[in-house]
């Protein structure tokens, strides 16, 4: 075994452009937000949420900022405050939109542009591997 240092391990994650790795810090910050999203796996909860989004959100111990970001479906903001994409995906399906379409809203592209980029082979890793090393 290697006895890797956790601080060095975690620090590297901050060097990836446009990416939030779901570390303990994010897991803790987003705990109740993610549990809220998970609750949408139950059809009765999806119905209650759809009928009164704000009312349903108010049942959860999440910040006003998080509630606004949910209401606005601002997924980048939700990631910034500890949302995890697999939890948030329960919100995509509640909205009835495709995973890839929801993902596209986090980029600087429209959904048709994003879809075309994927058809053309996806986003190149060139230049987005490392902030520090600019590669």
């Amino acid at each position: 075994m290697s006895h890797l240092d956790i601080h060095a391990y975690l620090a590297e994650f901050e060097d990836i452009p446009g990416t939030r790795v779901f570390t303990a810090a994010r897991a803790r910050q987003g705990y109740h937000l993610n549990q809220f999203a998970m609750s949408l796996m139950k059809p009765e909860n999806r119905e209650r949420f759809k009928a009164d989004e704000r009312g349903y959100l108010d049942e959860w111990a999440i910040s006003e900022e998080a509630k606004q970001a949910v209401l606005a479906r601002d997924y980048n903001a939700l990631l910034d405050i500890g949302g995890n994409i697999y939890f948030l995906s329960k919100l995509f399906s509640t909205d009835g939109i495709a995973f890839a379409q929801a993902v596209s809203t986090m980029t600087d592209m429209s959904w048709p542009e994003y879809r075309q980029m994927m058809l053309d082979g996806g986003r190149s890793p060139e230049g987005v591997r490392s902030i520090r090393e600019g590669r």
């Binding site: 290697s2 956790i6 391990y9 975690l10 590297e12 994650f13 990836i16 452009p17 446009g18 990416t19 939030r20 790795v21 779901f22 570390t23 303990a24 897991a27 705990y31 993610n34 549990q35 999203a37 998970m38 949408l40 796996m41 139950k42 059809p43 999806r46 997924y75 980048n76 990631l79 995890n84 994409i85 697999y86 939890f87 995906s89 329960k90 995509f92 399906s93 509640t94 495709a98 995973f99 890839a100 993902v103 596209s104 986090m106 980029t107 600087d108 994003y114 980029m117 994927m118 058809l119 082979g121 996806g122 986003r123 190149s124 890793p125 987005v128 591997r129 490392s130």
Partner: protein
Amino acid sequence: MARITAGVGSSHVPLLGVAHDQGKERDDYFGPIFAGYDWTREWEKQEKPDVVILVYNDHASAFDMRFIPTFAIGCGERYKPADEGWGPRKVPDVIGHPDLAWHIAQSLILDEFDMTIINEMDVDHGLTVPLSMMFGACEAWPTTVIPLAVNVVTYPPPSGNRCWALGEAIARAVESFPEDLNVQIWGTGGMSHQLQGARAGLINPEWDNRFLDLLEAEDDAVRHIPHIEYLRETGSEGIEMVMWLIMRGALGHKVKTLHRHYHVPCSNTAIGHIVLEPNT
């Protein structure tokens, strides 16, 4: 004596389940993807595995933030497809193999793997999509399944080295099971994909194919790839590929490639698929 006769690697993209369930397997978009599984579907009909040890990750379906097991092995009798927000997939229940599963679980704990034993859970696309890819539509899955769920969502996931070692320990456990069983091990998830943020949609075919090459290699260099390399090179969700190392570790040093397939895109993802057999 039970024996591991083959290892299968495959992406488990949820959209593949949708395509299968909606009869779109041969349309322009999905045709080239599913074509790469035709060989495997025929081969599985010949192979008729008794048990598949299916390594996958739960995507916030059975496990929420209250409990996060690193390695969880399903020892239950049966598992229902999870409702991931669209209603459960209309595919058969997954039938477990509690005899072999408990045997493996007990052996792994003696072998100093700190397993979590699971007796009841629903299984999500990570497990049911590979079954659809390998077996197509069926009334009942033609094999029993031992789910092996790996945490690759909350950091850190297990190291590649640990995953490979777990595969080796699974192989020892299977070999010590007295019943004559044809056992396959599948590693699922990957390949390149990033589902979040400004870098979403990242695809790195060169890296993915090098990873497949390393799986075919005689040495075990692939186990030492650090997490950061998966993340930088293949996107944040490319980390799922560590699960393929459990499969590969279970096959021993030398393997023979029976089939290999790679395609871009499927949804946000590159599709990779490989069929290996131990070569001793």
